[in-house]
Point group: C2
């Protein structure tokens, strides 16, 4: 039983690593099995398809990221706006580590797969849409706390603003990845603050 | 000669269409040749590799998009900020057309390939980085015109602000694509205006 679940987790880890490096279509089941040290004949004991394994890898990636975000966003000792800043800083730090350890930025696994697959794989698209909705709700709840302490206009503490912040994060990760330079992300937080401001068009 | 260049353009068009639909790795040379009506044996007369053909497809996509952007951004009869708004509106209109005609949003070919390929294909990454740099410069020049007429602070008319605007566009295209809903883009322009504002952190 322990060996079985270890083999399953090894497949999930290997799929996540390989797909984060090179994308979904570029990686095959045989290569994932080799990296995981699992016989290809055993693969279908654990997963019906590469698609099903990749959904498990997405869930695994998001579970770890969600735990990190929740820890930062639930920290009562820190003002709410600083908690949000910490989430953005954690993302920037992850890219900086990627560049140092691998020579390249991998960006965000969820964003990478969203753009590669959403137009032709409804199963993957819907799962990713659910994950992004969870992210939006976590940020929206934090914005409500920021508004409650009077730092931003309560009218800005919406799901739309939360999505705009996450869109800025994903978009800037794209620019950092294509430049292969985490320094691109230095201006991310000041830009996020602008998205929280109230302007004449409101 | 005419037939030769027609075959080459047909390969570029077919590669662009197929890769925009399904990504780079998911599409093979044989399928591109079939769609283009070009014998696979002739492919290497035109391009040394799928990578080289895809760079040509990127250049072709950007040449058409750049022409559209330039026409909107060089329109002297329109105030500069409205020219920028027109570029954003053109992107939103393209996604709305995609959804109506194909049932799905394809987003931006450049953004899709940037996230799929930048971490492991330096040739593609560098070409895409050059294209995004051209986009940033076009937007920066327009922001300078916006600042010159006094609509924004001259300190905001920078390449960094231009990149933030384009990051917001790419990030919101990601959210629209994963939701398969162009309605997500309704808030794009008000968000862009916030990125042009001057806030306390300046």
């Amino acid at each position: 039983m322990g060996r079985t679940s270890a083999a399953r987790q090894s497949l999930v880890d290997s799929a996540g690593e390989l797909i984060f490096e090179r994308g979904y279509a570029a990686v095959g089941v045989a290569e994932i099995c080799t990296r995981a040290g699992v016989l290809k004949g055993s693969f279908y004991h654990f997963f019906p398809s590469k698609q099903a394994l990749t959904v498990a890898a997405i869930d695994d990636y998001w579970a770890r990221q969600r735990e990190c975000w929740a820890e930062l966003l639930d920290d009562d000792r820190t003002p709410p706006l600083d908690r949000l800043r910490a989430v953005f800083a954690a993302n920037v730090a992850a890219q900086t580590t990627d560049k140092r350890d691998r020579g390249v930025l991998r960006g965000c696994l969820l964003g990478n797969l969203a753009l590669e697959l959403s137009a032709h794989d409804p199963v993957m698209r819907v799962r990713l849409d659910q994950v992004f909705a969870e992210q939006v709700e976590m940020v929206r709840a934090t914005l409500a706390a920021v508004a409650a302490e009077g730092t931003i206009d309560p009218g800005r503490a919406t799901a739309g603003t939360a999505r705009a912040l996450l869109a800025q994060l994903e978009g800037m990760l794209l620019f950092a990845k294509v430049a292969n330079d985490p320094g691109v992300l230095e201006t991310l937080w000041p830009q996020a603050l602008r998205l929280l401001s109230t302007v004449d068009s409101d």
